[in-house]
């Protein structure tokens, strides 16, 4: 390892190579599947080939007779000894009974109906083939609008396919429409279902010691504090009897949050196997069909009011979100979208009727850009379509509608407070980077030759550090609000600086950035700091909101680390002042010949960290009585300053920070192959103060690649009877380096006034490329009379639209009503 070098006045702001890289790139990471335990058994699920069917019988006898099979477990057995999982929806949604193995019905293709546990993974595969399940197929529902008709109901006990519905209405919507100079109507837009494809799939080892009545998990769930709350209630055990640990995680992107049903099965299986540990390693096909997908959303009957300058004055629309077969983390997404209710725009009047429905598809989970990207895409589509209809250039349209830089902190119509931002500046930087004027000229030339050539802009937000009080908008009785994270900072017995946090990073570089923060507090090198990441309920640095999700570590995690480091420093000062016989003001933190130390400026005498740690840990008789409370082992819990939102009005601040991104793309649609070829691409990012600019840049590239994939390649396709047609990489085609254009990266910084460091959370990225590629294709295809009303577009779909347009079969409707 090369020594860390600071390239500015502080470690914060330095592009420090990641501390974890050496371990991970050499294959020395420790992932759950690397863990081998004595008497380990292996679990394989038996899954439904049907999207919707009654389970008539499950016969496990042949599987149990196979030598090497330890036991089997069925949905009936699970239901007999557990409670259904907590449902967050109130009312009818509350009546949904969700068990980790199907009991009476299966509701999506790939739903587990039984599990076999064997001495080896391949024996478990053999045994799973021997389980006989008899099904009676039922009418599947694969379309959300169809689902709302309740012709075929997934959860009979709920009596409806609707999970939740609510209205967000702010300002004077109808008045704005009456006074509008223009009204644009868009009948239907649709945001497609896609997911994430982490290198490491879901993996769990569960062990339920019957004698100790204690459950242990080694898992890669990315929000374990949430998962164990669900599991404890389901298994009816005290939560302190559950130990959950994470180690290295090979990507999550949010969707590993909802692996708790599989975790529950592993515990139950272990109990039945006499307490032997049970390992489940999800196959790629299982991951594609039955882990979690992102939310699919349909936008109906959208009306937009604009004044004569093209400023949007009101939006009214009906949104239908499809959460798949079981709500699980939903209907939180019904509220989370409203963190970015007005996007980057100033309009004050809006009415959104938001409904969520179940369908016979894989349950959804919080997929990178969770619930906000769908809404931001909707707003960006509106901006481009309206600009086109009233004849304003898309860049000009945005400048007229963006929240102005001087308006921050900006309170949105629904009471969210945007901390900082400068959207016009991002646009300017992005235009410079891409060479806006030159591309405009090339576009004009290309169009003269009849080529389909577009330039498009996408603006997006990445709201981070959420207020769990948003759950009370869904259910007024939900016992959640605020946000918190814990950290511990200590001098160990020999004086090592050891930091522990309750996060479970999956490539975000938490070890590195936490070390940078502590290095500045103590004025030492990050190389001298050990950071322990990974969640562990028995290490006591977590809170009930610990995990790695929702673009927040830089705020919640590092604020906790910073708080703990300051507490430690204060103790070290008291101790050093006593030893060096001087005042605390006289002390200087730094590194001397004997390593990191605290020095008295007046005398030049110093004590190194070993000396300080020695006194407290193994030489405490020399301590004075007034220093008896010094532990050099400091825990700090950071809490966000949130209030519970107004549940009736759905008004209140839901997120602490708002990173923003602005992307510009140039695309030509090939006239022969209809391939939308990206000719140039820019991503400009504003996360305020970047703790580690290189990590930020890397996150932007990753999020950009993921969302380019989503825009052009990655689509979870179901046929009319609920068969998933994209269950392999050959069909789903996750993006690879062959498909990623050269991305030009730019950064501006508007520091957050709400965080100690000025940093804003930024990992999710806001799916800028989905908005941008839609906008760019739109620009290329307006001339052909085509409106981009789908978030997924590939060569095949562009070809189809053009052919349908020619044949007069294209059912798209955008209308403009002009009143000036």
């Amino acid at each position: 390892m090369t020594e860390a070098i600071k390239n500015g006045p502080t470690w914060v702001g330095t592009s420090l190579p990641r501390k974890e890289e050496d371990r991970l790139l050499r294959g020395r990471g420790k992932f759950v599947d690397d863990i081998k335990l004595r008497e380990m058994t292996y679990l394989r699920f038996v899954r439904s080939p049907y999207a919707h069917a009654r389970v008539l019988s499950v016969d496990t006898s042949a599987a149990e007779a196979l030598p090497g099979v330890v036991c089997t477990i069925t949905g009936k057995e699970v239901a007999a000894q557990t409670q259904p999982f907590i449902e967050m929806a109130p009312g009818q949604g509350q009546k949904i009974r969700d068990f980790p193995l199907a009991v009476e019905k299966v509701r999506y293709q790939g739903e587990p109906v039984a599990a076999v546990i064997a001495e080896s993974a391949s024996l478990a595969d053999d045994a799973a083939e021997l389980v006989q399940v008899e099904y009676e197929p039922l009418e599947p529902v694969v379309d959300s609008e169809e689902a709302l008709l309740n012709k075929s109901i997934l959860h009979e006990e709920a009596g409806t396919n609707q999970v939740w519905t609510g209205i967000w209405e702010f300002g004077e919507v109808e008045k704005a429409f009456q006074e509008a100079a223009y009204v644009v109507k868009i009948d239907r837009m649709h945001f497609h279902r896609f997911s994430s494809t982490p290198l490491e799939t879901n993996v769990v080892i569960g062990q339920w010691e019957p004698k100790e009545d204690r459950i242990q998990y080694w898992c890669n769930n990315s929000f374990p504090s949430f998962a164990i709350q669900f599991i404890a209630a389901h298994l009816m055990v005290h939560i302190d009897r559950i130990r959950a640990q994470t180690s290295d995680i090979g990507g999550s992107f949010g969707i590993k949050i909802t692996s708790y049903p599989q975790m529950a099965v592993c515990a139950l299986a272990s109990k039945k196997a006499g307490g032997r540990p049970v390992k489940w390693v999800e196959t790629r096909s299982e991951h594609m069909t039955a882990s979690a997908h992102g939310n699919e959303r349909t936008f109906r009957d959208t009306r937009v009011a604009l004044d004569k300058n093209g400023e949007i004055t009101a939006i009214a629309s009906r949104h239908i979100d499809d959460c798949g077969a079981y709500p699980r983390y939903e209907p939180l997404g019904c509220v989370i979208y409203s963190q970015v209710f007005c996007g980057t725009y100033r309009f004050k009047n809006a009415r959104i009727e938001f409904t969520q429905t179940v369908s016979n598809k894989c349950p959804v989970g919080p997929n990178r850009g969770y619930s906000r990207m769908q809404h931001l895409w909707f707003l960006e589509r509106i901006v481009d379509i309206c600009a086109h209809e009233i004849g304003i250039a898309p860049d000009e349209m945005r400048l007229r509608n963006y929240i102005r830089p001087e308006e921050f902190p900006y309170t949105t119509p629904n009471g969210c407070v945007y901390d900082s931002g400068n959207y016009p500046k991002m646009l300017e930087v992005a235009k410079d980077l891409i060479g806006w004027d030159a591309w405009q000229k090339k576009r004009a030339e290309a169009r003269r030759e009849g080529r389909m050539f577009g330039i498009g802009i996408g603006t997006t937000l990445d709201s981070g550090t959420n207020n769990f009080g948003q759950s009370q908008i869904v259910d007024p009785n939900a016992p959640f609000s605020g946000n918190s994270q814990g950290a511990n900072c200590k001098l160990d017995i020999y004086g090592e600086v050891v930091v522990a946090v309750g996060s479970c990073p999956q490539g975000q570089g938490h070890e590195t950035v936490a070390a940078q923060v502590v290095a500045d507090v103590l004025n030492i090198s990050p190389d001298m700091i050990t950071v322990r990441t990974g969640f562990d309920t028995e290490r006591n640095v977590h809170t009930g909101m610990s995990g790695t999700y929702a673009s927040q570590f830089v705020v919640s995690g590092l604020s906790a680390v910073h708080g703990a480091a300051q507490k430690l420093k204060a103790e070290m000062k008291r101790l050093a002042a006593f030893v060096l016989k001087t005042s605390e003001d006289d002390l200087e933190f730094g590194t001397g010949g004997m390593g990191p130390e605290v020095k008295a400026k007046s005398t030049g005498k110093s004590i190194n960290y070993w000396g300080l740690a020695n006194i407290v840990n193994v030489n405490s008789a020399v301590l004075s009585p007034e220093l008896q409370d010094v532990t050099l082992n400091c825990r700090y819990i950071w809490r966000a300053n949130f209030k519970v939102p107004d549940k009736e009005k759905k008004y209140g601040n839901l997120t602490l920070t708002y990173s923003s991104q602005l992307h510009i793309a140039v695309i030509e649609v090939d006239r022969d192959t209809f391939v939308p070829k990206i000719l140039d691409y820019v991503a400009v990012e504003d996360c305020g103060v970047a703790i580690n600019p290189r990590i930020v840049e890397g996150q932007v590239y990753g999020a950009t690649a993921h969302a380019i994939g989503a825009a052009l390649m990655e689509n979870c396709v179901y046929d009319a009877v609920g068969n998933m047609l994209t269950s392999t990489f050959s069909d789903y085609t996750p993006i690879t380096s062959m498909n990623i254009p050269n991305i030009k990266y730019g950064h501006i910084s508007t520091p957050s006034p709400f965080t100690y460091s000025g940093a804003k959370g930024m990992g999710e990225g806001g799916a800028g490329p989905i908005h941008t590629i839609s906008a760019t294709l739109q620009d290329a295809l307006f001339g052909q009379g085509i409106f981009i009303n789908e978030s997924f577009n590939n060569a095949n779909s562009i070809f189809r639209s053009l052919k349908y347009r020619e044949g007069g079969q294209l059912a798209q409707s955008v209308t403009l009503e002009k009143r000036v």
């Binding site: 391949s122 053999d126 022969d672 990489f729 590939n794 095949n796």
Partner: protein, 297 residues
């Protein structure tokens, strides 16, 4: 998933491999590079009781020129062909080899295995059918040579008997003044193409003296677009004749709608690929160096 358990056998010679498969019977299969078979085993779509591995047989991986023909061994890997200066002399072969799936597949997959698998979306059969290609086989009754056009008989079906294997693929080197190109359209590196077109032609001045055009992934086997060939043979190559040939190729294609695209879109792709492949082949016939292989969405 893990495959069902099977017996693994390692053959020491081609002859031994043939004998083994004959003795092991219907539930035995040859294992060459494994790039099709191993995934089928892991999905448990194929469940043979015995695998006879051909990987350790000496002298089965080579590229050599002999009496006006290029010879490839049963186990010659795609990547060896991709990086072979010798194979570059027939550009259609280089185009094909360099674009098959991704690096890992090319390092492991073999030309013999690919032909014997006869996947309708496979690259080799389509590229090679535009050339004078023969497949040398060894079976219980000794050796035989089969023209490629007679070798692949249907989707996933060849003229090989159960215990018979491909020993060598022999491609006649085209005469001077010839040029070829293989273009496949793929949505992403590791996937099969949505459509592919192979063209091999010979120019005399501007006139196309002879031409072979084949279409891949748009039928149960590679399709020779004979009408398209007729449209070019004896004609001066220009935008009009090329467009006529490409339209004839569209008509010859017989694609199915699937996740790679609708049947109509695949026909459109055939037109686009045919135009480009003919043009690249013609430029190469004139002695130009043109890089070109697979296209990505």
């Amino acid at each position: 998933m893990y495959p069902r358990s099977f017996h693994y056998h390692r053959a020491g010679s081609l002859k031994e491999a043939v004998t083994m498969l004959g003795q092991l019977g219907k539930n035995a299969k040859f294992l060459a590079g494994g790039q099709s078979l191993i995934p089928l085993l892991k999905f448990r779509f194929a469940n043979p009781e015995h695998l006879v591995d051909l990987s350790f047989i000496p002298g089965t991986s080579f590229i050599k020129e002999d009496s006006g023909a290029m010879h490839f061994g049963l186990m010659t890997r795609h990547s060896e062909i991709e990086h072979s200066a010798l194979a570059r002399r027939i550009p259609v072969l280089h185009d094909c080899a360099a674009g098959i799936a991704d690096v890992q597949v090319r390092n492991q997959g073999t030309i013999g295995g690919s032909l014997a698998e006869a996947d309708p979306s496979g690259d080799w059969a389509n590229a090679l059918i535009t050339l004078d290609t023969t497949v040398h086989c060894l079976g219980a009754n000794g050796t035989r040579t089969i023209a490629l056009s007679d070798f692949v008989t249907d989707a996933y079906t060849t003229a090989l008997a159960h215990e018979e294997l491909v020993t060598e693929v022999v491609v006649k080197i085209p005469p001077k003044g010839s040029g070829g190109a293989y273009l496949a359209f793929k949505r992403a590196a590791p996937v099969y193409p949505s459509a592919s077109v192979a063209v091999q032609l010979k120019l005399a001045g501007d006139v196309c003296e002879d031409v072979a055009i084949a279409l891949g992934c748009v039928g149960l086997t590679a399709i020779r677009a004979t009408e398209a060939e007729t449209a070019l043979r004896g004609q001066i190559l220009n935008d009009k004749t090329v467009a006529t040939a490409a339209e004839a190729a569209r008509a010859a294609a017989d694609p199915q709608s699937d996740m790679r695209g609708s049947a109509e879109y695949k026909r459109q792709l055939i037109v686009a690929l045919a135009k480009r492949a003919i043009q690249i082949a013609a430029r190469r016939a004139r002695g130009e160096k043109v890089e070109g292989a697979h296209l990505y969405a």
